[in-house]
Every structure is written in C-alpha cells, then in structure tokens.
C-alpha cells in the first residue's frame, strides 16, 4: 500500500506557506546546466571497529534524483557525509563526474585527497542538514552571502542580489535581516536550503531535512524541495523517513540495510510492490509509526 495517505491534514501556518511558487523569468535563482553523476566503487567506511559501509558499489546518473531509505544505522547518512567530505573513506573510491572525490591523481596513482583537492571538488556539492546548522552569529542575509563572497569571490552586490532571489523563492524575503534564532524551524530550514543553493552546486545532498521540524511545518519544506528538484538540473541525493516525500521527489529509491543495498527501483515499484522481505518489513514499520 503506497503511503500517500500519510499526508497530514493540518494546514501549514501562514509563515510557512506550502508550495511557494518559484520565482520565474530573468533571475531564476536555481542552478542549471550539466550536473555530474556519482559513482561509489567498493567504498568502505568504519567507525572504530564498527563497519558502516562494506565495499559499497552504486552509481547515480547525471541529473538523477535518488532517495536512500532504510533503518537508522544502515549507512545512509554516512554516504551523504562522505560525499560532502565530512568523513573520509577507509577504502575504495568515490567519483563525482569523472574525477575522484576522495582521492586525487598524482604521478599516475591515486592518493588520498588533500585539502586543496577537496576544496576544488566541493565546489560542485551542496548539503542541507537535519539540524539546519545556520550560523547563529550571522543574520539571514550574511548566512546566504558568506560563501558566495568568500569562496566564489562574488562582489557583495552580486551576492546580495543572488540571496534576495533565493529568499524570494523560499518565501522569506521579509526575513532578510532576521537572526536564525528569531525564525521557526521551518523558516530556518528554508534559509538553509537557500544558503546551499546560493553556492550554485551541481549536486545537492538532503540529510533528513524535515526530521527536526514540527509536524505542521514539514509539508511546506517538502513542497519547496519538490519544486526545486523539478525545476533544476541538480543531481539529488536524499535521505528521508518520509515515504510520501521520497515518492514525490525521486527517480529511483535505494533501500539500505547494514551498509548494503537491499533493493533498488523506481519509487512506484519499491513502495507499491517491494520484492525484498526486508524492504516490506521496513516500510510496514515506518508506516505503522
């Protein structure tokens, strides 16, 4: 049974209008253009003696939107953190586009990446966190301009213009001077989404972006992300426990358990007629909650 009926009937509050129409026309704030694919080759990740990923292989096509589902501790978030270079691999190689992310070529051999290579590779990747992680010492505008000015080298005016476009898009144009602590969770997450997009990434990582939100704020953020996914050329990797959202947003769903892919397929198949027992058990447990 597809989980479409889990949509909360609660209307979203006024400051979190769901499905804000995206700004159209000249100043399209969304990143466009060729997005890279992603390839994991025999990737191993350990935390202490605990093996989280065991020689994991999978690929994501350019521009593809993939959702990772599975019980907690199955390694989904670790995959995003590896892609964002917040963790280092213990074995195997991750490639983004044709270039290795975790490694770099030196003298015809692959060696672990240094900070410079990571900096180069991170230019293509953006991430939205479960806990938003806005900078509390900066107001909304500066959260959005900090990266564009100091990493991309935009002029302040260009960065501000870009920030305004994105804030319009996420429906928070009037909060431009606010501090993160003055915003609701839903608003903070919208700002965090805008902040990630301000860097014009080609790959966007969404790590349980609605898990920390109050139930009535979830739908608004999900609708925003769905619109962004549809109207941009981003390669998207999404970890979520919201099955309706997973179904809406993705071209393909990967079911993980214990660091390995149990089953994969288009959302209709995974949610409609899962083949693997572990997938069925997992979906049942999620829907029951």
């Amino acid at each position: 049974m597809p989980p479409t009926d889990t949509t909360p009937a609660v209307p979203a509050p006024e400051d979190d209008v769901p499905g804000v129409p995206l700004a159209k026309g000249a100043a399209d704030p969304l990143p466009h253009g060729e997005a890279p694919g992603i390839r994991f080759e025999k990737v191993v990740k350990r935390f202490g003696g605990n093996v989280v990923l065991r020689e994991l292989d999978f690929t994501v096509a350019p521009g593809e939107r993939v959702t990772l589902i599975g019980p907690s501790g199955s390694g989904k978030t670790t995959i995003l953190r590896l892609l964002m270079t917040l963790e280092r691999v213990d074995g195997g190689i991750i490639r983004v586009g044709e270039r290795p992310l975790s490694h770099m070529e030196r003298g015809g051999r692959l060696v672990p990446a240094n900070e410079r290579h990571l900096h180069e590779m991170r230019k293509q990747i953006g991430m939205v966190f479960q806990q938003f992680n806005l900078f509390p010492n900066m107001n909304v505008l500066r959260n959005l301009t900090e990266g564009p000015v100091h990493v991309l080298g935009l002029s302040r005016d260009e960065a501000v213009e870009r920030a305004r476009g994105l804030l319009d898009m996420v429906g928070l144009a009037d909060k431009i001077e606010a501090h993160p602590s003055q915003l609701s969770g839903g608003q903070q997450q919208r700002v965090a989404i805008a902040r990630a997009l301000a860097m014009r990434p080609k790959v966007l990582l969404l790590d349980e972006v609605t898990s920390a939100l109050d139930p009535e704020l979830v739908v608004g953020v999900q609708d925003l992300l769905r619109d962004i996914a549809r109207q941009s050329d981003l390669t998207l990797l999404c970890v979520t426990h919201e099955m309706r959202f997973a179904r809406d947003i993705s071209d393909r769903v990967l079911m993980f358990d214990q660091g390995q892919i149990v089953e994969e397929g288009p959302p209709d198949q995974i949610f409609g007629e899962p083949r693997e027992r572990r997938t069925r058990d997992f979906l049942q447990a999620v829907l029951a909650s």
Partner: protein, 235 residues
C-alpha cells in the same frame, strides 16, 4: 583617617599604575591566549603540543615566582628587564596560559555541526575558524575572561614586591607616613574593589553586545559566575 585621605594624590598615582599594569598585562594575556588557544584546538598534533607546553609551564609557575625569576634570576644570565617589563611579562604569560585554556575550551564547545556547515559551504580552513567558529566561541569566552581579568587585576598587587609604585606599594608608604594602619589598608581595599566593579561592568557590557550579535536576548541579572581557578575552560 583624615591624614590618610590627605594622601589621596599618592593613592591615585598608585591606582593609575595598577590600572596600567592591569591593561597591559591583559592585552598581552589576550594575544597569547588567542594564539595558543587556537593552537590547542587545532588538528595538528604539534600545534596541540605547543599549546600544552605553554599552558602547563606558565599556568604552573605562579605569577609571583615568575616575576621574581624574571627580575632576580634572569639578569644573572644577561637578560635584564625593567621592573615594569618583568611585571607585565609575568602577569601576561601567567594569565595568557589560563586564557588559552578558556579559548581552547570555547572553540571546542562550538557545535561540530557549525564546522560541518562551514565545510559544506566550501569555506577554507582559515575562513571556517575566523568567520564561523571564533565569532561563536567569543560569546562563550567572555564570562570566563571577565573573571580572569579581575583575577589579573588582583594579582597586580604583587608588583609592589618588585619595587613598582602601584596601589599596594603606596598603601605601605602612606601607612609608614601616617601610622594609620587600619584606615590605610581599608581605604586601599575599597579602591581595589571599585576598580574590580568597573572592570566587571565593562565586561558585562561586552557580553551584552556579543549576545545581541548572536541574536540572543541578554540574560538579565546574571551574577558573576563561579570564578575559574585552574584554567576554567567551559566544559
């Protein structure tokens, strides 16, 4: 009592010296605290080792012992300091070590998620520290720094023992001239108390400003927190 009050020019001169040494010592301590504190929070092992060496050495040596050493011992190996330089150096090195622990602790207390968000925005390591981590750590540093500033001001009294004419030194002079022991020392204690209160107000003002910078509402009527003796890094 009136005789003691008549010596107020002397007293004020002494207080001025006390304030000067406090400020100079605090500036030196602040610079050392930031440099060695940031090193202590670094990932590189050798930087953390430098931090440990500095902190253990200069926190362990009491300010007075350090001052005697600079003033009496080092001239014998050819390093000569004026009393003022020895005093400021000893206090700065000593309280810089306490301060470095505060800085290290505050940096480590900034949530790891903030560092990760800075990585995700592709900020370079130095930018992460300067633009994201340090501004947040400063808000955590200020209350313990306020306590250390008062401690440093109190510790300046020992400079009278290496012949600097600070407030305590003047107290002994006035006492000798007037014979008014109780009145003299009581008055001098009050002057120290006033200086401490002023310093405390200044730090409080700074705290309010940084809290506003972080978009927090200032805590009202927060008393001076438990003073931290051995480093006092926030846990």
């Amino acid at each position: 009592m009136s005789e003691v009050l008549d010596s107020h020019p002397q007293l004020l001169q002494g207080a001025w010296i006390t304030v000067q040494i406090t400020v100079l010592g605090a500036v030196l301590a602040l610079v050392l605290a930031l440099a060695f504190g940031v090193a202590g929070a670094a990932r590189a092992v050798w930087m953390r080792a430098v931090n440990r060496l500095y902190v253990e050495f200069f926190r362990g040596a009491a300010a007075l012992v350090l001052m005697y050493w600079l003033f009496y011992s080092l001239p014998l190996v050819g390093l000569r300091f004026t009393p003022m330089a020895a005093a400021v150096l000893a206090l700065g090195l000593n309280y810089g070590a306490y301060g470095a622990e505060v800085v290290r602790g505050s940096i480590n207390a900034v949530p790891k998620a903030q560092y990760e968000a800075a990585v995700a925005l592709n900020l370079r390591p130095a930018q992460r520290m300067r633009r994201v981590i340090l501004p947040q750590a400063v808000a955590l540093m200020l209350p313990p720094f306020g306590n250390l500033l008062i401690e440093l001001m109190k510790a300046t009294a020992v400079v009278s023992l290496v012949t600097i004419a600070d407030l305590t030194f003047r107290a002994q002079q006035i006492q000798a001239n007037t014979g008014e022991t109780a009145a003299t020392y009581a008055l001098v204690l009050v002057v120290y108390f006033v200086i401490a209160q002023v310093l405390q107000r200044l730090v409080r003002l700074l705290e309010h400003r940084t809290e506003r910078m972080l978009g927090r509402r200032p805590r009202r009527g927060a008393l001076r927190e438990v003073p931290a003796p051995a480093g006092g890094a926030p846990r």
